[in-house]
Amino acid sequence: MKDRIHKFEQNGTYILLDINSGAVHVIDKMIYDMMDTFDGTNDNEVLKALDGKYPKEDLTEALEELHELMKMQQLFAPDIDIPPTFAQTGIVKSLCLMIAQDCNLRCKYCFGDGGSYGQERAVMSPETGKKAVDFLIEKSGPRKHCEMDFFGGEPLMNMKTVKAVTEYVHQREKETGKKIKLTLTTNGMLLNDDNIKWLNENDFSLVLSLDGRKEVHDAMRPDVGGNGTYDRVVKNFKKCLDSRKGGNYDYRGVYTFLRGTYTKNSMDFTEDVLSMNDAGFDILSMEPVVLKDSPLGFTEEDLPRINEEYDRLTEAYMKRHREGKGFFFFHFNMDLSNGPCVAKRLSGCGAGHEYFAVAENGDLYPCHQFVGREKYRLGSLDEGVTSKDLPQYFRESHVLNKPKCRDCWARFYCSGGCHANADLFHGDIRQPYEVGCEIQKKRLECAILVQALLKLEKENNEG
């Protein structure tokens, strides 16, 4: 039964998660201690184990409450196996277009070799981009909602193709009735009045890259000449955000995210998150760098420090929220009551079966991170998907088929982690990157705590 629950304490709050139902219970210290022994059938053992530590009548009362939860299937809920709703084969509904395999920055932690992905620097032609739209429409079959992400390198270096593809997307939407959500990830160097206006008119969600404090950003994200870029990009990001004020933007529909990366050189990353918020941005994300054999990357030895920093970030997040100056932090956002279905939790990011990346030359890969890793090439826009086995292998590489994930308490929240990172560290997409797992678990605990606190404080405020 122990493998059906996860309990933790953070900042004096005790949480009990029932893994297979998703129920989150805020509990007192006594219940927390009881759960070391309680398995649903051994009340006397619990009483014996905690005899003298808590009054018997309190323990008896708490046991009744635990049995009540079990009756409601919110404690020790039965294991979940592959549901019938998880289709055997995936339907491709999302594409990432490598609009420019070239970049005007030289970020120190870039996984794409300065934008080139180990290949010749090149940009995608409008023709290739349009073929990708047709590919998406054909492959997505009955799916109404599709997605296309304009990525790089730096996609704004190739506005000609961005515009041609977008125009074609709108044309094909009208012809087919599909909705293709557009996203663009940019470093901000080329954001100007003209393209901001155009991106807004075309309902682009934007992911804007900023690493927080000026000194941190400038050290990690220099331009080609080695100069800091903070002042230039923040000016452009502010202009972009200002242009979207009052419009129909939020964090789920058409969104504008600021995202950063922390490294071994910025393990006090709470300061970076707060710095972004202080600069006027309030939809934020900050994620750990993933690098192998690099002085900027993380090892297991860094985990205690990283965990401590997430505790700090949680406190800072709650403090600002309580002061009426709350901001949105991507990893703390979790809908505990209306989250995704089990089928979605198994399909995860969808790389290789629901989500493909299109390299600038039209080659297909499981996702943008696999571009240039030749053994993962799936085919091309001209040939179609020629790999017979890879899409199915990715489809079946879900948490219930991965030994390390199957028994992990976080399996239905992280969905097995990033395949590309697993491949980077182990050459095997079914063997998760352990340091990433530990960071993910800590972030999930923080998210669950934050959501529980927000709910309880709201109830208290409403009396």
């Binding site: 009540e68 089990v342 995860g348």
Partner: protein, 45 residues
């Protein structure tokens, strides 16, 4: 309850038999995009 406060109405078990429509957003899990993890997604239905 005196010792336990449940903060959500969980739907995970109920979604075993339904869902899977695939209309929800893709959720890249890598560090380079801000859409990591499925836990913080919502159902589109």
């Amino acid at each position: 309850m005196k010792h336990i406060k449940t903060v959500n109405k969980p739907t995970l078990q109920a979604s075993v038999g339904k869902g899977g429509c695939g209309e929800c957003q893709a959720s890249c899990q890598s560090a380079c995009k801000t859409s990591c993890t499925v836990g913080n997604q919502v159902c589109e239905k």
